[in-house]
Symmetry: C2
């Protein structure tokens, strides 16, 4: 099967490497308007050939959109305008409601499958890509009723070929939940990084005093602004609500500290400790995927 990947960064690049290694794709056509990326993608073997978008659409059975979510919303209608009825398009963006809305009522809507693989690192570009990024991760497919059955089936086959678990979910529900479990973490981390950088002008102090806990909480502050600004924009309503709750909880914590109310602090932290069970659940979830 010929697969075109539009956007040869961490996500698109890793997908391409994985689908080539496992034989799902007989050929990967790469599309990217960043020349350095196309050059690197050829060197690394992410893409077998680089083509224009139009050529890629004509030549492939599967078209994967792996660009920032604002660019994806612009690209998708143009791609659907041109595809044949045997081709499917899927996107891999972190927000799902907007992209589903933008093609609502399009004549070829049913050839599109809205997906979100829950995988990534804080690194970017083709050189950050690796073929096992998606292994034992969850791939979410949204609003599957709006896609042809064969298209959904093929998208599911593609993800399962990478040892992923496929989960179905309405796009609006996806965007709300993902605001809590992913977008909030990123904003918390970006802002933590900023707050410390603002005040600790003497880097030696950070080097000496920051431990593994600091590193762990600010790791996501390394993430790509080009990828995240459009996500925060598209999911603004949900994120604003979730962020408001986070700020409210921080203010409660601050009051307890100001009032030196150790008992109540203790209680809050004990409740937060329950996250241990959740984190073990996540690991178990991945482990079960591997065993199945």
């Amino acid at each position: 099967m010929i697969v075109s990947v539009i956007g040869l960064g961490l996500i698109g690049g890793s997908l391409a490497l994985g689908l080539k290694q496992n034989g799902f794709a007989t050929k990967i056509i790469g599309v990217d308007n960043n020349e350095r990326h196309t050059k690197e993608a050829l060197e690394i073997g992410i893409a077998d050939e680089i083509r224009s978008l139009q050529e890629a659409v004509e030549l492939s059975q599967v078209i994967v959109i792996a660009v920032p979510v604002d660019a994806a919303c612009k690209l998708l209608p143009a791609i659907l305008d041109r595809i044949s009825e045997d081709t499917i398009v899927l996107d891999m963006g972190s927000t799902k409601a907007d992209i589903c809305e933008v093609v609502e009522g399009h004549a070829n809507r049913s050839r599109f499958v809205a997906t979100h693989p829950i995988a990534g690192t804080e690194n970017t570009g083709p050189r950050a890509a690796f073929p096992t990024l998606f292994m034992s991760k969850v791939g979410i497919i949204c609003d599957e009723g709006d896609s042809d059955q064969d298209a959904v089936h093929l998208a599911e086959r593609l993800y399962k070929s990478l040892f992923m678990k496929v989960v179905y979910m309405p796009s609006k529900e996806h965007d709300l939940h993902i605001a809590y479990v992913s977008h909030l973490s990123h904003i918390s981390s970006f802002t933590l990084g900023l707050t410390v950088l603002e005040v600790e002008k003497d880097e030696k102090t950070i080097f000496n005093m920051a431990g593994s806990g600091f590193a762990s909480t600010v790791r996501l502050a390394k993430s790509s602004p080009a990828m995240w600004a459009p996500i925060f924009d598209q999911n603004a309503k949900n994120i604003s609500m979730v962020l408001g709750e986070y700020i409210k909880n921080l203010q409660i914590f601050k009051e307890l500290i100001d009032n030196q109310d150790q008992d109540k602090m203790f209680e809050l932290m004990e409740n937060a400790n329950d996250i241990r069970r959740i984190l073990e659940g996540i690991i178990l979830n991945e482990h079960n995927l591997i065993k199945k």
Copy 2:
């Protein structure tokens, strides 16, 4: 040298294991008022024998206090009341101003060395201890002018025997910087965990949708309330200020999201990306310690 360790949890236990393995301690006397911990400490080999506080103080050349910071402030004066002039006491707490204040003017103040090893994990108790916890980490010694030279020298030798780097700093300065690079990370993580747990009643959703980024930012929410409540209490003034700045920055981020100001969001995140250089600096710092 006979070393007494008071508090046989992650920190005290790891120190004991390290000092026994490297030969610095010929014998470890363990003190802990938690019976399960003393039993486990003997089983694991953290302590050679368990003794009362009074016996431990009489029998050892080095006394290490590794209990929560509120308990440490109560213990230290009582220990200083009884020690001989050849003995030194050091504490390992995450806050330094209060403990230095509590023994200001004590007749044996100069036998005490205030220290803070920048090391730890989110796990607790003797079973979480391991002998290399401190390897290539920084050990901070505060207000060294208030301690006898031989006491400071011995504390430094102890840390260096574990391949640590020793850094000197006034206690008040320590407490301000550590509020930024450690205490804030913990509050951010505790509160993030709470916020998500409050709303995501259906754990399956978290298991399916949470990725490695979420796990990384909430890892510290597993930390021990018994250890952290007294730290937040003792460093309340600094933490409140730092937390206020973090909340202010989150509110700025929220406004940008509400106004869908992608350009300014992009700029903030690009500034936050500078944390990459800092994190590399931390790794390099550790690496240089190993090489030296």
